[in-house]
Amino acid sequence: MLTTENLTYWYTEKDQYLFKDVNLAFEAGHSYAIVGQSGSGKTTMVSLLAGLDTPKAGRILIDGQDIKKHGLTNYRQSKVAIVFQAYNLFTYMSALENLMTAMAITKAKHRGDKTYARGMLTKLGLTDEQMTKNVQKLSGGQQQRVAIARTMVCDAPLVVADEPTGNLDEDNTTDVIALFNQIAHDAGKCVIIVTHEAAVAAQCDGVLRLAHRTFTWEKQPQAAVTA
């Protein structure tokens, strides 16, 4: 579903690349963890996969088509949903309004359907009262659930998460990873999670380690292909 071809990235000096000629393939219906030391380039990789940045060389293909041809804005709008460590919700809105706004922007199939959005938030454990109050009044775990719910109401086949459990306690971490697996397995989406937590990675179907500028599969889900 998502493949990289000779993906290369550096910041300023070409010979000081972060990674080079990376060829990976991610399949729908699986969850993947990218692990590695801080500063190794995990987040850069995930931002490239999410279309938030452009590679210096190589290309990223979704369903066989270069994401550049989609246009990064269109790609982010229709192909990928992103979850951040800091939740990145609209702080002047309620949980419900956050979902409705995301559905409107991404032109999701259920856009404008408040009942659908409510149902998704309920599914993720938010009460009616919680979903209508300002998101800043929710706990960290609840806000991350709202962020995950946002990815679920959008129709993007790819979900990318950057340290989604970084601000959560152990219980919430387990719940959130379970939700991501649910998205992958039940909704048939491709979920890629960047994490430095071994426990989180262990719950994913595939684990990819970035070390010494090289990606290595520690655990391969079915149909994953190494570079």
Binding site: L52, T73, R76, S78, F84, N88, F90, M93, T101, A102
Partner: protein
């Protein structure tokens, strides 16, 4: 239209910031509105002045021609055996009232007033004498005539006299003179003269002509009060006793009688009131065809010109207000928008990560400021008139000009001129006895009060300006958005 909904949600959620923006925008709009209103009112006032402020044409003896003739006579007499005792004299013809009536019939002339000035000697009462007002030396005589201690200012009506119309003189008791007093010996005297001589309305006083050959009985029908400033402003024009209290207003017919039979149905000067300043030139051209070179017509549309000049200064000031506030407002709003965008970088990053187009992000800010602008324009429309009126009063007050000029006039000059509105009567007092002294002119600009009014047009202009201001502010402030990389905002 999701950006519009987001804008609305943001405005509602961040009430403090919204209130602050409304306050700033309203203040900017209020001053722009005030500037627009003042400018509009100044233009209107100038237009109104064209119609409402009358201009005048003064018909009097042509002094230049008189001097020329005098010099010609002097030159021709040089060839004759010299007569040391004979000096060439300045002879100025009085204006015939029949000529004045012809001019008065011209299109554009609304009315005319007659002024005759002479002097007499008090008989049954005492003139007020002041040490500074003593007429001594050469100024007392003209052509062998002697000067009396009382100035007789012959008018067609006191109301038409500039001193009464500009409230320098005010009727305190009795009444002023009107056209019905023509041919009578009714007079209006000054209150100090009345007090000093214990005179009341209804009393009869007597004066003698300057040759002291005839005595005239005059009936006091009114007493006027001269402002204290009159002594300085009018002093130069006094011929009789020098003190303005010695000026007695009478019908011009009596003044002519006092001057002599040859002056019957004549006047020193006739002032024609022309309906609008724009018609002055036309009337003057037509009137010149009716008079000989012995007379001259002097146009006086100073009131209009002064109003026009001061309104032009007000308009210029209002223009500056509009531009300065608009530029300052744009800069202030742009800075606020820049700060607002910096504060909302994260929100922009989220929107971009969701795939929102940059144009729609800018559109969201535009909608937010548009709503604020609507409230600001509403407040400015409600309060603009109040601020405009206050500001206009201040501007008009500072633009008001007072011009004082002093001219040294040679002997024989028929008095000093009054002000921009044109004067007649008492102010032209020098004729018979000759006053070579100073004629002080004080011209007080008549200012049209600026009446600001909020109109649909002014609100529309304000709204258009406001729209331009927020557009520029947003483009300047949101320019950075176009360069923002969502990764840098959200992850970096």
């Amino acid at each position: 239209m999701n950006f519009a909904k987001r804008a609305w949600l943001n405005l509602i959620a961040k009430k403090g910031r919204t209130a602050l923006l409304i306050l700033v925008t309203s203040a900017i709009m209020l001053f722009v509105m005030a500037g627009l209103l003042i400018k509009s009112a100044a233009n209107q006032a100038t237009e109104n002045a064209k119609d409402s402020i009358g201009a005048t044409l003064t018909l009097s003896a042509n002094r230049e021609a008189a001097f020329k003739k005098m010099r010609e006579n002097a030159a021709s007499s040089d060839g004759q055996p010299s007569q040391p005792s004979e000096k060439p004299s300045l002879s100025m013809s009085p204006v015939k009232l029949s000529t004045a009536e012809k001019i008065a019939k011209l299109a554009g002339v609304e009315s005319y007033s007659v002024a005759v000035s002479t002097s007499a000697n008090a008989k049954s009462f005492d003139a007020i004498s002041t040490s500074t007002g003593q007429m001594t030396g050469p100024m007392g005589n003209r052509g062998g005539e002697s000067s009396g201690d009382i100035t007789i200012s012959g008018v067609s009506s006191t109301a038409a006299n500039a001193n009464f119309s500009d409230k320098t003189y005010v009727i305190k008791k009795g009444r002023g003179l009107t056209a019905s007093d023509e041919g009578t010996n009714n007079v209006v005297i000054e209150s100090e003269l009345a007090t000093e001589n214990d005179l009341k309305v209804g009393d009869t006083i007597t004066v003698k002509n300057t040759a002291k050959t005839k005595t005239y009985k005059l009936k006091v029908v009114g007493i006027y009060k001269a402002k204290s400033t009159a002594s300085t402003t009018m002093g130069g024009g006094m011929m009789g006793g020098g003190d303005p209290s010695n000026t007695i207003f009478a019908s011009y017919t009596f003044a002519n009688t006092l001057k002599g039979t040859k002056y019957k149905d004549t006047a020193d000067s006739v002032v024609f009131t022309v309906s609008t300043p724009s018609k002055v030139a036309g009337v003057k051209k037509a009137a010149n065809k009716l008079i000989s070179s012995k007379f001259s017509l002097t146009a006086d549309d100073q009131s209009y010109q002064m109003v026009k000049a001061s309104m032009s200064s007000v308009t210029s000031f209002a223009d500056k207000i509009v531009w300065l506030v608009a530029i300052a407002g744009t800069i202030i709003l742009a800075l606020i928008v820049v700060l607002m965008i910096r504060e909302r970088r994260f929100e922009i990053g989220i929107l971009l990560s969701l795939g929102e187009k940059r144009a729609k992000v800018i559109a969201q800010f535009f909608v937010e400021l548009f709503v604020i602008l609507l409230v600001g324009v509403g407040i400015a429309s409600a309060g603009g008139q109040f601020v405009g009126d206050k500001l206009a009063a201040q501007v008009v007050s500072s633009a008001q000009t007072t011009t004082t000029s002093s001219t040294n006039q040679p002997g024989g000059m028929p008095g000093g001129q009054g002000g921009p509105g044109g004067t007649q009567g008492a102010s032209r007092t020098g004729a018979p006895s000759g006053m070579p002294g100073q004629a002080s002119q004080k011209a007080q600009t008549k200012q049209a009060k600026l009446a600001t009014q909020v109109t649909f047009k002014s609100v529309a202009i304000l709204f258009g300006l406001g729209l331009a201001i927020i557009l520029i502010a947003i483009l300047a402030g949101a320019g950075g958005i176009l360069r923002l990389n969502p990764k840098r905002i959200l992850i970096g």
